[in-house]
Amino acid sequence: MKKGDIIRKSLLGLCGLAIFVLSGIRFYQHRHLPEPVVLGEGVTAVKKLGDYFPDIKGTINDCNLYFLEGEEPGATLLILGGTHPEEPAGRLVPWLLVENARMRKGRLILVLSANRSATTVTRPSGAYPTDFTIPTDWGGQTFRMGDRWSNPLDQWPDPEVYIHYPSGQNLAYVDIRNLNRTWPGRANGTITEQTCYAFMELIREEKVDLVIDLHEAELQYPVINTIVAHDKGLEMATLVSMMLSDMEGFSMGSEFSPKNLHGLSHREIGDHSDAISLLFEAPEPFLDATRGITSREQLLEGKDDFVVKAGKHGLLFAPIDENGWPIKVRVGRHTSTILQTMECWNEYYPDKEILCENVPRYADLIENGVGYYLKDPDKADPDNVIYE
């Protein structure tokens, strides 16, 4: 080989190495970005999912479980955030609850990263931002942006066809990594199936009465601005929907969980445990296929001219205008829906009440924004800071 060839190849190789190192550092930082949670005074215990199913212990999906126990006994409510970490309101709502809520009656179990693996990756070729920052009075808090599916680094390969267990229903191959298609899980299955199985063990062992799974959806998807309810909770969900329209100033639908659509939390948790299962959907234009630039601003402000145009052509199932769907609106819809669900629960089950306080409602979030309710980890007692 000539000297000139060696020099050229070395220079090109160094350029390639630089691209590899720079992109590698960025991917590594995304996967390992620490997300601090300041434990509020209402948190009485922090456990791990692996405490309920040893096979999950020490894995990427051995997520934190935050327990808020009231002074008086009552029902147990489990709130799942981060089933789909590309839907940030679903994670921010339990975050606010961990840092602010106090229980007077009953018990609240909060999950911020139900599919932790999916918080460490964004959609391939989606040009998603790797993180987003919620502005606060003390600067801002940065969160990992995630994906709908578990990270292929943690679960691979996908099958040609995903056969759901135990129904045997054929689902899209990629949904074997979708935490909301693998309920009720399988003890000896993939890590996503095992995660669902571990949650089912938690639900059974802790005698959970009500499970709420928090989501966001694209406006071109018909299941939006709604509560999807298992048969056991449909009447209550309808009452919640009516109360929200009446009391909170926004409308929320309710619909039944289809009996033949398997793997979803609102169907399988209700079928395989004593708990009532509900799923809440808020609008997230960031997820729409017709969106414009997939930026952090779009993610948090929910503004998009292309989605607005799609609405003018009658292609959307939720309204949108130039004001978009800001994150405070989406988070506020979820917090108020949770609080109204608790209030309606108390009407149906007065002997097993859930009373919770110090949770911002829709109107509070509209006025103050999400960052107002996030606590500064630098000013908190280090013993009260947990990382997701």
């Binding site: 080989m1 190849k9 190789g13 590698g24 680094l153 691979w156 390969p157």
Partner: protein, 54 residues
């Protein structure tokens, strides 16, 4: 199924490593700078996967 998945994963990583080596070999043998750039660009995702970064 779990064992089968692990086995396929191991074989996959062996393939990725093998193809990465072939690309490096071709890069060394090539006389054309355009081809060399192409080999380097193709190599990057293989290395990212091999080092479990993406």
């Amino acid at each position: 199924m779990d064992i089968l998945n692990s086995l396929i994963s191991i074989i996959y990583y062996v393939f990725v490593g093998y193809i990465a080596l072939l690309l490096i070999y071709n890069l060394a043998k090539s006389k054309n700078w355009k081809e060399e750039i192409l080999y380097i660009v193709i190599l990057i995702p293989f290395l990212l996967r091999l080092f479990r970064l993406k």
